[in-house]
Symmetry: D3
Subunit: 69 residues, 6 copies
């Protein structure tokens, strides 16, 4: 990918929930963990996102926090 975003985690869509404005997409990563994304409904429609789609979760490094117990 030619996008500067450092994080690109591949997985499969497990659910898409929509409001008028927003959509929530739940992705099961290939490694087994789950990632939840909120995007606009317009983007979910444009990409025709549906359960079972192979996608990736893309995240800018500046948006990732670190937790150390």
């Amino acid at each position: 990918m030619a996008l500067s975003a450092r994080n690109n985690l591949s997985g499969t869509i497990r659910s898409v929930t929509m409001d008028e404005v927003m959509a929530e997409v739940v992705i099961e990563l290939d490694g087994g963990e789950t990632v939840t994304s909120t995007i606009t409904r317009g983007s979910a429609d444009r990409l025709d996102l549906a359960e079972g789609d192979e996608v990736s979760a893309v995240i800018k490094a500046s948006e990732v926090m670190v937790n150390k117990d």
Copy 2:
């Protein structure tokens, strides 16, 4: 965790690089993928982050995009 952030991916720190203001932390997830985070150097110092630490990458759902090829 009692934090609203939906995404919490556990892994191990592979490197910490620091500037005067910012730090870059590279985390290898338990599932094998790599996540890069930029935080303040102040936070990296406060949490005493170092290679080998068990941590998690925490990400608010609103910061996650979806890519579908």
Copy 3:
């Protein structure tokens, strides 16, 4: 807290408004100012957020802008 996010402002929830996907949480800080947060409805449900709850607003430093009149 062992989270890298630098900002952690304690207060009391004054209202929670929900859509199908998103929730808006209004927090009155102990110092008297008000902070508004939008999170997923899923997180608001999981944390069982309600008026009167003692919570904190957590904000990554990279998300804070500065205004100087």
Copy 4:
């Protein structure tokens, strides 16, 4: 303010630390809590930010998480 950002917390700058690219600004809110912001050095220079300046921390609601212990 005519900006859509919901959160606008007034305070006083306690320190400004700079790199080549980034600056960290620590603001003591009027209510007593401390907020840390990272912005570009270019913005810190343009606004001529310095210790003692009266400023406000401006935060979009979508960037605020909620923690409930």
Copy 5:
């Protein structure tokens, strides 16, 4: 503007769509491109945003990614 956010693109609102919590605002920039923003419905109401309004899209530099094909 006295706000640290580096990006301030002027344009005209082409549509406002609202949910209970969120609003989507589509802005046509003076240069011809379109920018979509999601803000709280509360902010859209407070600013009384409507089609035809002259506004600007304000974006913190840390939120801008770069794509190079």
Copy 6:
């Protein structure tokens, strides 16, 4: 583009400034306005970003605020 991010503004890189961790990229949009981005130095190196490159600024809708004077 198959990415959910709603905003994709094409332009030309006017400058790249680097620290150890971060890079600032200034892009002149085809419409004439300027957009500033901060990304990791690692991404700037990986994409080999340099003055004169044709790129686009990619921005998630949730990161765009609206200002109405």
